[in-house]
Symmetry: C2
Subunit: 143 residues, 2 copies
């Protein structure tokens, strides 16, 4: 099995839904940073079957909420001197603007690109959001 | 330091020029495979200062030549039962079609998209190629 030894200081984003690691990697622009970064995909996981992991050395802050949209239920571990000092399970944001798209083809946000894509969280457990314009429900797992 | 323990069976692409790991990852469509894959960027290297590494479990063959264009002088290690059984330093291809682009704005291949971008290797050490149409020299390190 592919394994990565622990990092000294930094972040370990764990329990990423398999396949979403590269999307979070791209969303955080990790290809452009000067930090040591590892993306591991399709790691065997008892809980999830398969999962992705991202490790970032010497990095402590970015918008945790936004990445939880890409993979709800992920865990962010803050590591200092090789020890996990904080475990964060980011909550899904109540309101989301211009991150997810409405999948109703007749919604005004689908046809008019100047209209902001605004959603409200309706169920945290299912990860479902309601479009502000057409009330269509979008589940994050379907994106 | 971020480290990955050795893989059991598969490939380790080492000595990738820092920053090019994600390009090789994308070129090989590793985000879409079902294999265990790791991309590690900006690893400290005595020889190179910084380098990228890609590890792919249970994978043995793909076009080694094409990826050498993205990062000349990389090394491909074939691993079986945790041992490196073969070390490959892919040679740059003599002829390249539709992979690199001519950077001469007046070249016909720059303006006419139907013309294939054809290059011949002129110097393996420098990684320099000559455009078949306008004789302009392109160095891989400048791409």
């Amino acid at each position: 099995m592919l394994e990565i030894t622990s990092i000294k200081d930094g972040l370990v984003i764990d329990h990423i839904k398999s396949g979403m690691g590269i999307k979070i990697f791209n969303y955080l622009n990790l290809d452009k940073v000067d930090l040591q970064v590892a993306l591991i995909m399709n790691v065997k996981s008892e809980k999830m079957g398969k999962k992705d992991i991202i490790k970032i050395e010497n990095c402590m802050d970015f918008d945790y909420t936004a990445i939880s949209l890409l993979s709800p239920h992920l865990t962010i571990n803050e590591v200092k001197s090789c020890k996990i000092v904080k475990k964060i399970k980011p909550k899904l944001p109540e309101k989301v603007v211009n991150i997810i798209k409405c999948n109703n083809p007749r919604c005004i946000t689908s046809t008019e690109s100047y209209v902001p894509q605004t959603f409200k969280l309706i169920n945290e457990d299912c990860g479902s959001y309601k479009c502000d314009y057409c009330d269509n429900i979008t589940k994050l797992s379907d994106l």
